[in-house]
Symmetry: C2
Subunit: 283 residues, 2 copies
């Protein structure tokens, strides 16, 4: 069965999140229904990151196995047609080797968080940004964000119901910049804990308002205590923007080893203990 | 009675347009209701441009006279509060001299037109952009847009029900550029004919697709015939972005002359016959 990699953009406002759930519409269900409408296949698709209710994506990735060997362009066009009128778009579709797994092959997830920083209400982008009225010092936020970069125990910045085995993660990059009325935070890591990005951004907001210093952020991180976290930022401003993958040959070998029982936590695990959940849920 | 200048941003999707009408909600009515809720004054406000149904603004300007001499900041905060939940925001509020008129004192209107140029459907910005699938050559569109710059008879590019006395206008600038998947057209003029921007952009789209040349645009303009116009672009992508004003002393003198019967077409008229409608409706 040919495997396809889908790069997906979606407006998270009408959804309970990426993952199929009984209590409301999900992005996963929209795409699975589109696959069925297109070719009759009843599939379950896996995404690279499980975005929460109201969280958006410009570069979510999923894979799907289809019975027939369709041209990738045909699959993309058909799924885009059948996803309508839901605000879900397949931005790219590629045929992949069988070792490719959208979740376990991923080596990096990137998120963007958008803050509209002005006094007047938001007009065009309600539900697509976090509206913060007090003037934010984006440079101070950027400086404090560097506290998070590197390998840390992120217990303070993880949802109390986060299911990852370890609270340790390695944040590769975290930038904050201002563009006019907008303050944009971007970060990347192999994977994230549940609510990690929103927890970090909510804390950096305190720095932007001058209520916390970078040292306060450092102390919160060192506390390894959920109660030390600032107010968590809302889902509205969060976007999964990119998922990166390792080369095909590594994938196939890792998957073969995993299938033959050579690993216990899945083929996403090779890079080390800090990523043992392999989950990539950053919202 | 103190006069205030309001700079207004609005999402045009839920509105029949700027102007109060019997057949649906308008931006003007939202602001007039907000004024009444704030201070009890029953006012009629005038806007610099009469945007059509579904057209947006980031820099519409209106003036309003209030009974009491409120601080401008108080007016802005109160109107923003009372405009909610409608997607209308007062971005700035200034106290003005009595000669200031949002419509007649304006010397320049600027519009932006946003095209999302990609095959996949639009997700986040439905109703906020024009979705054009075929690859557009933005450089060719920019070159052809220069045909419109200068003083011309824009009969071809004006709505058949346009009420301006003259079809002649002087376009100051017209640029088209690409930013990733987006093609952005921007133009400025003292005033525009009804549907002029959307007519010009719809025609430039034909150039972007390679179906028309700049010479075809030149011939369409020279034809002075509405039937020579390309398909008019939808309102979705159009934004009134800025209105510029002349200095206060000129304003006051022009208004005084007009009130004393020195002019027949209103104080907006001094710059010449090409702007005799003084209307500034560019959508």
């Amino acid at each position: 069965m040919p495997r396809y990699k889908l790069t997906i953009e979606y407006d998270g406002r009408p959804f309970v999140g990426w993952q199929r759930q009984a209590n409301g519409p999900s992005v996963q269900a929209v795409i699975e229904r589109a696959v069925k409408a297109f070719c009759g296949d009843e599939v379950t698709i896996g995404g690279a990151g499980r975005t929460d209710t109201g969280v958006h994506a410009t570069g979510q990735v999923a894979h799907v196995d289809l019975t027939r060997d369709w041209p990738a362009e045909t699959v993309m066009g058909a799924l885009n047609f059948h996803c309508l009128p839901d605000p879900v778009a397949i931005m790219a579709c590629e045929k992949m080797h069988e070792g490719f797994d959208a979740r376990f092959s991923a080596i990096r997830r990137a998120y963007r968080y958008r803050i509209i920083n002005r006094v007047p209400p938001v007009t065009f982008e309600r539900g697509l940004v976090w509206h913060v009225k007090p003037d934010l010092d984006a440079e101070a936020m950027h400086a404090a964000a560097q506290v998070f970069v590197g390998h840390h125990d992120f217990t303070t910045f993880r949802h109390s119901r986060c299911q990852a085995k370890s609270p340790e993660k390695t944040l590769e990059v975290f930038t904050v910049r201002r563009e006019g009325h907008e303050v944009i935070a971007e970060c990347a890591s192999r994977s994230f804990l549940h609510n990690q990005v929103r927890s970090m951004v909510g804390t950096l907001r305190l720095v932007g308002e001058g209520r916390w210093t970078a040292d306060d952020v450092r102390a919160a991180l060192a506390a390894r205590d959920r109660k030390a976290c600032g107010p968590v930022a809302p889902p509205d401003g969060l976007y999964l923007t990119r998922v990166d993958y390792r080369p095909a040959e590594v994938d196939t070998a890792a998957r073969a080893a995993w299938l033959s029982g050579g690993g216990s936590a899945g083929p996403g695990d090779q890079a080390g203990a800090e990523d043992d959940d392999g989950e990539g849920s950053g919202d």
